[in-house]
């Protein structure tokens, strides 16, 4: 997922961006992996790039897998960047930022420790917004075929003749 904006390269995009929180670079209309090695950028149309970056951080805090790059979390939540969803998402992220202010940070994304961000999420765990984002991630994140190999899951095997000759009983430590 390396989405270009108006024909610009990712490097050009990054050069126009400001570092946001710990992990994101944001510019007008896009969120990107902060370092050059994080090879992804997501264009946003209806949400502000700050809101999208916060949503990506929230997704990671709900289902944190340290070996899974932000790119997959971004894919999992990019569906909220629609004309219909945007207003409610902006309002809910604003509420999350307000909660962060309550514990002394400017915004949710500025809260340094995951533990503290998770506390903020716990406090809103039963809200429809949280449940919508969490429920959406169950398929949005874990049903991405590109994520499966990170967990070792091999997916369909019919095209390769099943596992009959490919280790269905190869366990060797029992």
């Amino acid at each position: 997922m390396s989405l270009r904006k108006q024909g610009m390269t990712r490097r050009q995009l990054l050069s126009q961006s400001a570092v946001f929180g710990a992990s994101f670079a944001i510019g007008s209309g896009f969120v990107a992996g902060r370092v050059e090695a994080a090879n992804w950028a997501l264009e946003v149309e209806y949400l502000s790039s700050e809101t999208m970056a916060t949503l990506i951080q929230m997704a990671r805090d709900i289902y944190p897998h340290d070996q899974v790059s932000d790119a997959y979390y971004a894919i999992a939540v990019k569906g909220y960047d629609t004309a219909e969803a945007a207003e409610a998402i902006e309002a809910n992220i604003a509420a999350l930022d307000a909660a962060a202010k309550g514990i002394g940070y400017a915004r949710y994304i500025d809260v340094g420790w995951e533990r503290d961000r998770v506390d903020l999420l716990r406090a809103m765990e039963n809200s429809p917004f949280f449940q919508q984002v969490r429920g959406g991630l169950v398929t949005g994140l874990y049903n991405q075929k590109a994520v499966w190999p990170i967990f070792g899951y091999e997916g369909e095997s019919f095209s390769q003749g099943g596992y009959i000759d490919r280790g269905f009983d190869d366990i060797n430590w029992l």
């Binding site: 967990f151 070792g152 095997s157 009983d169 366990i171």
Partner: protein, 523 residues
Amino acid sequence: MTAPFDLNDDSVVVIIGTGAGGGVLANELAQKGISVVSLEAGGRYLPEDYINDEWDSFGQLAWTDPRSTSGDWRVAKDFSGLPAWIVKAVGGTTTHWAGASLRFQDHEWKAKSTYGDVQGANLLDWPIDPREMDDYYTKAETKLGVTRTGGRAGLPGNNNYKVFEAGAKALGYKEVHTGRMAINSAEYDGRMACQQTGFCFQGCKWGAKWSSAYTDIPKGEATGHLEVRERCHVMRIEHDKKGRVNGVVYVDAKGKQHEQKARIVCVAGNSIESPRLLLNSASSMFPDGLANSSGQVGRNYMRHMTGSVYGVFDQPVRMWRGTTMAGIIQDEARHDPSRGFVGGYEMETLSLGLPFMAAFLDPGGWGREFTTALDHYENMAGMWLVGEDMPQETNRITLNHDIKDQHGLPVANVHFDDHPNDIAMRSHAYKQGIAVYEAVGATRVFPTPPYPSTHNMGTNRMSEKASDGVVNKHGQSHDIANLFVSDGSQFTTGAAENPTLTIVALAIRQADYIASEMGKKTL
């Protein structure tokens, strides 16, 4: 007469649903030369159509028409619109099923006599002697090609089985093997042997697993006596002035309604849709629904005591490779009230792919406690616990008039509360399942809550007396002689075993009865 049949042909047997019960009954009757029209709400999918991807397959095959839930079971909270995992397709839920095919134990046919009075349970003995079933079980096993019966070899054990077996043996369990499975361990009945592909729940693309979709249905059609009309949803069953059923009204794929006349109607829509259809067929003569003089239609809904245990190990298991459920421990299936509950349970290997594991391991769970479990997905082994649950009158299917399906019909509400016996059995089963994995070095274990019901039973139950149930020992309704129930909803009690072999054996038996009564002109 040969198929296709005319809508006004009132000599045909109409069967509603083509799953384990309906699909087998249709073929068995057709083989005897009896004219059958099978009406199936779902479409026709064959092995080349099956998708080896959990959510895509679910979208292709599952029954996703609206339903509602109530009661204290956790499914009502986590999956309020999806009480059960049932298929809507030619072949019914035998496309998704895992193939575990076990006979009831003798005492399970006589639950009331064996267990005595259990408070809050509406127990009853089946009006069938276990010895009457022996030959029918053999016929069913032959039809399905069940491994470890009739001289057929067992399946080889996969990684998930090997962990399970090692743990079971370490605990001293004796009855441990790769199961009696309706999955070919060698070529059988023109179908090939299992290739250990690992998507048994998504439809077997090799056809190694029995499903009525590509066995009984085409065999019946080949006789010329069976016509299957797919994407035809039966809305109600009609009756004449004497109170005998004489046809069904259904809506086809284009939304057009038709009435098919019938000599006999057999309902086999699974334990949620079958009672719903009988209730939706209420008339001025039968204001409480058809075959419901006992008031038992929809009641005594059973779903088996279930749960799963997953264990994480310090080394890889890769449980998803190979057959999904070919592994069983039967030592706990006995009735032994000293454990603190009546009836027993089976422990069976189970694996879910990563997408379903994320959805079902701990529904609603999040944060690192949840994600560190999935981080070790590759090192996980899994088992399913399945045991007898208590029939309760208040666990029932009712019509929810506030929600209508796409045909404008009230949907089924599924109400379920666990019985204390179910809870006691589940905690025992969790403990034993955990012990199995800890015996082989599990570093973390997960006693996972029940999934949406895969085993649905009891909502049109069989009884000796007309006042106690809906159908007699042949599945013939007590109230209306030419109305039959032919699926798992006939179950008087659920036993510990997976239900399908018994559904199939009862369907074969019912076909003999219907043919003989038709011969005698009593039907």
